[in-house]
Symmetry: none
Subunit: 249 residues, 2 copies
């Protein structure tokens, strides 16, 4: 049997069953395990599959990046995400909200940091599932079509059963007087549950949203421990927030 043929068979098996054992392949092809090991190593370096301890797994749809290029105010959001990253330490257990700013945070999480992350957001979960050292736990529930996040009573109930070190949340509107507000009643209920399930809450928010408000209230400003904007903490736009007991980043 030709080497090429053998590798083709291995690829086929991986594609077919998503996952294979080296020992199984060695047996069915009737070659030594070393040969299979070498073949799989080679195919791995050619990016045709992924070698894991004891076998190999298909690349499958894991590589498809859902990168949406036209995010509004991406530069600002990236700046915010970078600042937020500095709060993460090895072993942190935290929650990440939906929204493009939080998604940006998820993207920027370094590959070598061991973390445990809870989320309600499908895109965030997808993004994080590509980071080998991050444990991702998805809070289930009915999926909201616009935001691609879990909503509803089920999601809120699931949130009530966890307690994380801190959570990164976004908001529709924020005002130093009226606190965090939203357009949507369901979302407010959800955010309340998120805040309740975290020891500390970090608000990620571009400066454009400052001093705006809407119909339904999520919480007062003192429910927030840290607020991160793309501005320097000394910036005048943040003046009205400095009177509260909030750490500005």
């Amino acid at each position: 049997m030709l080497k090429e043929e053998r590798q083709q068979t291995i690829l086929n098996e991986v594609e077919l069953h998503n996952r294979i054992l080296l020992t199984d392949i060695a047996e069915t092809l009737d070659v030594s395990i070393d040969t299979v090991r070498r073949d799989v190593k080679e195919l791995d370096s050619e990016q045709k599959l992924r070698k894991v301890h004891g076998g190999a797994i298909s690349l499958g749809f894991t590589t498809s990046s859902t990168r949406n290029t036209n995010i509004y105010a991406l530069a600002e959001k990236t700046r915010i995400a970078e600042k937020a990253l500095s709060l993460l330490k090895e072993g942190s257990v935290f929650f990440v909200d939906g929204g493009t700013t939080c998604l940006e945070l998820a993207r920027l999480i370094p590959a070598d940091l061991e973390l445990t992350c809870f989320t309600l957001s499908l895109p965030v979960a997808m993004e994080l599932s590509s980071k080998p050292k991050v444990t991702v736990i998805f809070i289930g529930g009915q999926i909201s079509k616009d935001a691609q996040i879990s909503i509803g009573a089920n999601a809120i109930h699931n949130l009530s059963e966890i307690k994380v070190d801190f959570s990164f949340i976004g908001t529709g509107y924020v005002d130093s007087q009226y606190g965090l507000t939203e357009f949507d009643w369901d979302i407010v209920q959800l955010k309340k549950a998120v805040i309740k399930s975290a020891k500390k809450t970090v608000l990620l928010c571009i400066s454009e949203k400052l001093n705006s408000q809407h119909r339904y209230k999520t919480c007062d400003l003192n429910a927030i421990n840290t607020m991160i904007t793309e501005l320097e903490p000394e910036n005048d736009l943040l003046k009205s927030f400095r009177s509260h007991d909030i750490r500005l980043l």
Copy 2:
């Protein structure tokens, strides 16, 4: 024997068997191995076949180029998904498993059908969230990095609290005797829970997986109500499945 003639014979053999050994050809043509080697080298440079260590393989045999970008055996999986669609009716409440075949089913769901769909799979949930009339409920849990699905005790517990009309599931391996088997213990636990939470179970499975088995057993074949392959139900490959109480599609 002329050189032209010989090379034509070599090409023939390659096309016929997809691959050849240099030593075999040398023997059947009764020329030295060096001659064959030179011929094959020449044919390779003319792009008529691909020379590899020890022999040559047909150009059509190397599917590696399309493999990374496309889903393996997409045509077959699409065919299966189409058949599965015929089971869906307005108002159906059902479950969709992970895997590329089930993802294909999610893709093909028409926009005008009102449905309620439970799933564990992030890609399936993403796909379905773009269909306005489909209510999507995601079963939360820890996210498996390979498969991008919820796994673990939490997911299984969440599954135990629902009951759907039918569920579409995939499997790693299926055999008419041994039933459905998997590579992975965790996945087996999950699939058992899925089957338990559905009134009827529909297996989506490309024919290549028929008559294969692995270590851990998900269920017997009679736990499956309907089995869908890309083949016609009358096909001989399905003969051994006809003796069971299964509807073949």
